[in-house]
């Protein structure tokens, strides 16, 4: 497949507007500005584009809700708070292809009749901040942003808003709170951001990768775009693979590429020829899979049928040397640290899970601890405002579901057999 999102990133000057334009950039924006906003949304619908942040929500549906709301101004927020452990797919777009995102945002802004856009960038990406600010300045200079975009009378202003180290701000309502200068604590829904979002105005929050699809999508049209990848989940997808593979990294492939092929064909298999023990397919919050369950098409529709989720497409590969009790413990330490504290089941539950896992890992596990973990997890699921608590609970449940003997052995032997 030709590279769409990661096109040109091997060019050391790829972030420069001149290089982007030389490679065909900023041609879709004038085309889009010659269409009606509704026509753009219609193309996105035909394309079947789903949000790439993790949930896979149909983009055209979200846009339709926001554009139907009569309140103005409307806001377009780019979620660049890429924090799901294992995920590093947006970073190459932000650092190497910022104009693709900017063009995508200008097109999306026009489709939504939004006048203002913000890129909510995680604090841990300081290099990307400078690169984006420079790219935005270049885009203003060339007239692709501002009061009269590409001379077509459309007003769209864009700025970077830097987060400050809070995973929860990747959740869209927490992101909005954080943009407004508050703690990143999720809001109850409804009202949904498409009606009452940033500064109480209709707001669309889309992921970096999602918005970066727009220039290509508008360029070739929705129907042609829909021919890429899975029929019910089309388009290119950036998979980012880490852990014990020969060639970790980012891979732009058709959506729906088989997980086994990603690991064994694209990434060259397990490092040092070792045995595969487990795969987390879509970032740490997605259910872990044992080696006999990795023959699955990696898209939003298919992965749930295989007991997991596509999530952010962040594949973490673990070989036989890894202790999964320890990985589970580390994951819960993360969730405890990142729980915003608003909902009691998540605030307390993540800490309790971490403590029980910690004692199992440290050889002080007690009989009944596995049941205790299950019980805590069961009391968190579905009882919180946002999916962080659910994610933490389901991580524990799925580790136990597939690797229970390893947890039992830890408790029985008061030690780890993996080392």
């Amino acid at each position: 497949m030709e590279k769409i999102l990661l096109k040109n990133i091997d060019n050391p000057n790829s972030a420069d507007i001149a290089e982007y334009m030389k490679a065909g950039g900023y041609q879709s924006l004038p085309k889009a500005l010659g269409m009606q906003p509704k026509e753009i949304i219609e193309e996105v619908k035909k394309a079947g584009l789903r949000g790439r942040g993790g949930a896979g929500f149909p983009v055209a549906m979200k846009w339709t809700f926001a554009s139907a709301d009569p309140k103005f101004p409307k806001y377009l927020l780019c979620n660049a708070d890429e924090g799901e452990p294992g995920t590093f797919k947006d970073r190459p777009i932000l650092e190497k292809n910022p104009h693709l995102l900017i063009e995508g945002m200008a097109i999306s802004g026009f489709a939504l009749s939004a006048e203002y856009g913000y890129i909510y960038l995680r604090g841990e990406y300081p290099a990307a901040k400078d690169i984006l600010n420079k790219a935005i300045a270049q885009a203003y200079e060339k007239g692709f942003l501002g009061d009269n975009v590409a001379g077509k009378g459309f007003k769209f202003h864009l700025a970077v808003h830097q987060g400050a180290g809070a995973y929860i701000c990747g959740e869209e309502t927490a992101l909005i709170e954080s943009l407004e200068g508050d703690k990143g604590q999720p809001r109850i829904k409804p009202p949904f951001p498409v009606n009452v979002g940033a500064f109480a105005k209709p707001t669309v929050v889309n992921n970096v990768e999602t918005l970066s699809n727009l220039p290509y999508l508008i360029g070739i049209g929705g129907e042609a775009y829909a021919k890429i990848g899975s029929p019910d989940c089309p388009g290119p997808k950036i998979y980012c693979v880490s852990g014990h593979v020969e060639k970790p990294g980012v891979y732009e492939l058709p959506m729906g590429t088989n997980l086994r092929d990603i690991i064994y064909t694209h990434c060259g298999g397990i490092k040092g020829g070792k045995k595969l023990k487990a795969v987390i397919p879509g970032g740490i919050s997605t259910p872990i899979l044992p080696p006999d369950k990795i023959d699955c098409a990696m898209d939003f529709v298919n992965m749930p049928k295989h007991g997991s989720m596509l999530g952010s497409g962040a594949v973490i590969v673990m070989d036989e040397s890894v202790c999964l009790v320890k990985v589970c413990y580390r994951a819960l330490k993360f969730f405890e640290h990142e729980s915003c504290g608003k909902c009691t089941p998540c605030r307390e539950g993540t800490g309790w899970l971490r403590k029980v896992l910690g004692r199992i890992e440290n050889g002080q596990g007690m009989e009944g601890d596995i049941d205790l973990l299950q019980s805590i997890a069961g009391n968190m699921l579905g009882k919180t405002f946002c999916p962080l608590g659910d994610g933490a609970a389901s991580v524990v449940q799925n580790f136990i579901k597939h690797f229970r003997p390893e947890f039992e052995a830890h408790i029985k032997n008061k030690a780890c057999s993996t080392g």
Binding site: A164, G181, F199, G243, R330
Partner: protein, 154 residues
């Protein structure tokens, strides 16, 4: 008080938002740069300029991990130990920093040269283990490589 340069910067930042409150996060970053950490004086300055009550500014500031609430070393070593980095040896690197530089997670070396912050995924999982020193990314870390890198930060 903010320096004149910082005041001017903040005025420009303020224009990016529909209200002053939304400029709080960038203002806190600016204050951290000016004061070295978010001291009571730093909150005083932010509150004075933006008109946001101190209690609220501090409530927001303490929510976020990247705002520092105690004096830091001259260089901040931000090492990721989340799963992708952990399974490729990040914990060994934590031990190394402790043994070689007297650096404890959350602490500062006795000479004030480094502070160590354990990070929750910095988006460099494909080149793990990874860290940021101040604003600079370093990837595929080993003990030897860390030693070479830190040599450059005085």
């Amino acid at each position: 008080m903010f320096s004149e340069t910082a005041k001017k910067e903040l005025e420009e930042i303020r224009l990016k938002y529909p209200n002053a409150r939304a400029a709080l996060l960038p203002a806190l970053y600016l204050a951290q740069r000016e004061f070295g950490w978010l001291s009571p004086e730093a909150y005083e300055a932010v509150s004075g300029i933006l008109g946001v009550p101190k209690a609220i500014a501090r409530g927001v500031g303490t929510f976020y991990a990247m705002y520092k609430h105690k004096p830091m070393g001259r260089n901040i070593v931000q090492l990721c130990t989340n799963v992708s980095c952990m399974i490729l040896g990040a914990e060994r690197l934590v031990d190394f920093l402790k043994n070689k530089y007297g650096l404890e997670p959350g602490g500062t070396s006795p000479d004030g040269r480094f502070s160590l912050v354990i990070m929750e995924c910095i988006g460099a999982c494909g080149t793990a283990p990874a860290m940021l020193v101040n604003d600079d990314f370093f990837e595929n870390l080993t003990e030897k490589y860390i030693e070479e890198i830190l040599e450059k930060y005085k």
